[in-house]
């Protein structure tokens, strides 16, 4: 066991210097570091050795950095500069060498990523071929302009990988695409754009049932033209990311195969609540249709099933036919897009088959705090009305339910009617948009049913700041306030109010004044008595008792609160003005496993909107 070895090394070291160490204590210490605090064994050994050395007044030389071992095969994505590595990968591109000292230049790729390589002429290495797999032992990674590349020198061994060991080419779902890889994808071209530069032959959007991605076809690829509506397999495309947007590049090594009707992957029916940008088959009912405002659009409307609803659009192209209201349809190969955060579904010509059976749908009512851009059903009270700001707006304000509030807007049109303050409404199939990070629900076109007998207790709007308490100011804890009505100023130690002078009949209060810091911004924060009591479990009465029974007086409460709160994560709700926060409701932030999973995905570089 490794821990035993550490204990052996440490006790030998000190025994040799004439300082025997209590073995049991030592082992207990090591276990405490390594098991309880998951400190890596090397760091634990260092810390404990240092501790004993100081105790006995010995000098411990610091060990030099250990050299990376080179035996095992590294993943290309893990390679860092200044490493000796062994990799196995496929040569995906060769770039002509421009210098006599360089024999070959290119890119090699494995399932984790791709890296540029340079083979020095002096290396006398075998010539590598595009498309073939090799094992490259003891190459050196170095870095130039932030770009890590692999140098193959005379000490590097290159061997062919026998065909049976070469991994099968896999088709990567579009949602799994990560930048800087060479992959194979399959999908349907949903849109094509004219090229913007002479070096580009074509740009397009490719979709499968997991997502969509932009495709760039280099002019130098001499590739066939991609046709809108056709399915393709693209083998060995390079993936890239620019401004958070993933794309794939078709180059001369890419093989393009149009898929025949039989080869097109069958897409199963997906509930509307689970669709995302990509190609889907859905079965849904037309719950609203709208006159097209422009010539290019034949029809707009809303489709719904038992799980949710989505906007649809039918373009005015040959073969396009409108859908009928209140009719169910199966729509195969529908293209889902995202615009301003909201999903929409494009019905391609000939893709919608009427379904005769009519099922009733119970609309899925969503709590306001869970509303996302798209189409929603709500049950909410008209909570607040805003002054009109535009001639085009009939009414706007806030809708509220037990979970929170959301802005609503009703545009002027002939069918629009105003909401009555404090009335509860069932609102079906309204569209939600996002502007400046703020959601707003537009009620035009939605079905609105007042419920005169209902009442809802609306949770008033408040802001939430999550951050670390990085400093508590004097004036936190138990304070004395001026008792004069309407004053309430904090008194000095001598019970002096800056306006009403000495006030011996002060009233006690509890608060926290400090800096709450979210890593981007620091809020000058005051937490009210309710907030402090809730957060710390210390009531005003027990704080008073604490201060009166302790020689340090008010300071005791300060130290107590400081100890509980400083350096910890809080979630505070209240009002903010600029960088000030008045919080009346606070709790310690708990570890959020959902957030952890989300960040793990994000760190993997998965496509994000």
């Amino acid at each position: 066991m490794e821990l035993k070895e550490i204990a052996d090394r440490i006790s030998e070291k000190f025994a040799a210097a004439g300082h025997p160490i209590d073995r049991a204590k030592l082992e207990e210490k090591i276990i405490r570091y390594v098991e309880e605090f998951s400190v890596p064994p090397t760091e634990a050994e260092r810390a404990i050795t240092g501790d004993y050395a100081r105790q006995y007044g010995m000098e411990i030389p610091s060990p030099g950095s250990s050299r990376q071992d080179t035996g095992s095969v590294s993943l290309i994505s893990d390679i860092q500069a200044e490493q000796w590595v062994t990799i196995e990968g496929q040569v995906v591109t060769l770039i002509p060498s421009r210098s006599p000292s360089v024999a070959q230049n290119g890119v090699i790729s494995d399932s984790s990523g791709a890296i540029r390589f340079t083979v020095w002429s002096k290396a006398n290495a075998p010539v590598m071929e595009q498309g073939k797999w090799y094992r490259v032992e003891s190459a050196v990674a170095d870095e130039y302009n932030g770009q890590v590349s692999l140098k193959i020198h005379s000490g590097t061994t290159i061997t062919d990988i026998s065909p049976e060991l070469i991994p099968e080419p896999v088709i990567t779902p579009i949602s799994d695409i990560k930048p800087k890889q060479w992959i194979t994808v399959e999908g349907k071209i949903t849109t094509t754009f004219p090229p913007r530069s002479p070096s580009i032959a074509q740009t397009a959007v490719l979709a499968d049932n997991t997502g969509t991605v932009r495709v760039t076809v280099w002019a130098s690829a001499n590739a066939m033209e991609l046709e809108q509506g056709q399915w393709y397999r693209l083998e060995l495309v390079e993936t890239d990311e620019f401004n958070g947007q993933l794309s794939i590049k078709v180059h001369s090594g890419t093989k393009i195969t149009p898929l025949s009707r039989d080869e097109i992957p069958q897409v199963e029916k997906t509930p509307l609540s689970q669709v995302s940008p990509g190609i889907f088959t859905v079965e849904a009912k037309v719950v609203a249709v709208e006159r097209p405002a422009v010539d290019q659009i034949l029809q707009r409307g809303i489709l719904a099933d038992e799980t949710g609803a989505i906007k649809f659009v039918i373009r005015n192209t040959p073969g396009a036919a409108p859908l009928e209201e209140n009719q169910w349809y199966e729509i195969s190969g529908a293209v889902i897009d995202r615009f301003r955060g909201a999903l929409s579904l494009q019905v391609p010509p000939g893709s919608a088959k009427p379904v005769m059976e009519d099922r009733s749908i119970r609309p899925n009512i969503v709590p306001i705090t869970q509303v996302v851009p798209g189409v929603v059903c709500l049950r909410a009270k008209m909570f607040q009305e805003y002054e009109g700001t535009s001639d085009r707006i009939l009414q706007n304000g806030l809708l509220g339910d037990e979970t929170g509030t959301i802005r609503f807007i009703i545009w002027k049109d002939e069918d629009a009617i105003q909401l009555v303050p404090d009335m509860v409404y069932g609102i079906y199939y309204a569209s939600v948009d996002e502007f400046n990070n703020r959601l707003s629900v537009s009620l035009n076109g939605a079905t609105i049913v007042p419920d005169e007998n209902a009442t809802i207790h609306v949770k008033p709007p408040s802001e939430e700041v999550k951050g670390a308490m990085v400093h508590l100011s004097p004036g936190s804890g138990l304070i004395k306030r001026c008792p004069v009505e309407g004053c309430g100023r904090v008194l000095s130690r001598q019970n002096y109010c800056p306006v009403h002078e000495i006030q011996p009949n002060y009233v006690y209060d509890l608060r926290i004044k400090g800096w709450l810091d979210d890593g981007q911004k620091t809020y000058d924060t005051i937490i009210s008595r309710e907030g402090v009591e809730e957060l710390t479990g210390l009531s005003l009465a027990s704080a008073q008792e604490m201060a009166e029974n302790n020689p340090l007086g008010l300071d005791t409460v300060f130290y107590h609160v400081n100890e509980l709160v400083l350096g910890r994560y809080l979630v505070c709700r209240g009002k903010t003005f600029d960088n000030r926060l008045f919080a009346y409701n606070c709790e310690f932030r708990k570890f959020d496993p959902g957030m952890h999973a989300e960040l793990v995905n994000r760190a993997e570089g998965e496509a994000h909107e």
Binding site: G50, H471, F591, L599, R602
Partner: protein, 191 residues
């Protein structure tokens, strides 16, 4: 508007969240403005200035320096490496807190980072602690999430920010190269 800018000057600098691996690679430091009281910053390799940091991890070692003034050098470990932290008599609060903390313990620290030249000429980043608190493991885990999120924000931020440009020029290292450190940190959390 002049009023506004005058107020702004007294706005407190946010305490940045940064993993040990990134902080120890930072060496560029600069002063904003010319007078003595203007704040000094170090520039993180992911393109953000920082005048104060909030860190959390395991206190593994606490070394009291010999000499008249009480002065501690401590090591605090996060999943990516070690923070070097100093606590001196100019920070009586931190000194008082530290005196009763044992190794190993989970701690959170607020402090100011500085770049120093070690005897062998290497740059060393050390944090001067303003406060140090014993916390439980959930605070450390929250910190790892928070720091992962903010580090990813920096990695993925648009490139027109001047600090971003400066970091590219100075450190000559792609921001994406920090992503594996974030993964490592997140992987260290055992659910």
């Amino acid at each position: 508007m002049s009023d506004d800018s005058a107020n702004r000057r007294f706005e407190r600098e946010a305490a940045k969240r940064v993993f040990a691996a990134e902080l120890r690679e930072s060496y560029h430091h600069f002063r904003e403005g010319t007078d003595d009281k203007s704040p000094t910053f170090i520039l993180l390799p992911t393109g953000e200035r920082c005048n104060r940091v909030y860190i959390a991890g395991t206190l593994t070692e606490k070394k009291k320096s010999e000499g008249e003034a009480v002065f501690y050098q401590i090591r605090v470990m996060d999943p990516t490496g070690i923070f070097f932290v100093s606590v001196g008599s100019y920070q009586p609060e931190a000194l008082h807190q530290l005196s009763s903390i044992e190794c190993p313990s989970y701690v959170s620290i607020i402090g100011k980072p500085g770049v120093f030249q070690a005897a062998d000429g290497r740059n060393l980043v050390s944090v001067r602690a303003e406060s140090i608190t014993v916390v439980d493991k959930s605070v450390v885990d929250c910190w790892i999430l928070d720091t992962a999120r903010l580090t990813l924000d920096r990695i993925e931020k648009d490139t027109d920010d001047p600090d971003h440009q400066k970091a590219m020029e100075i450190y000559q290292r792609s921001f994406e190269s920090w992503r594996p450190r974030v993964k490592e940190a997140l992987a260290s959390i055992q659910l």
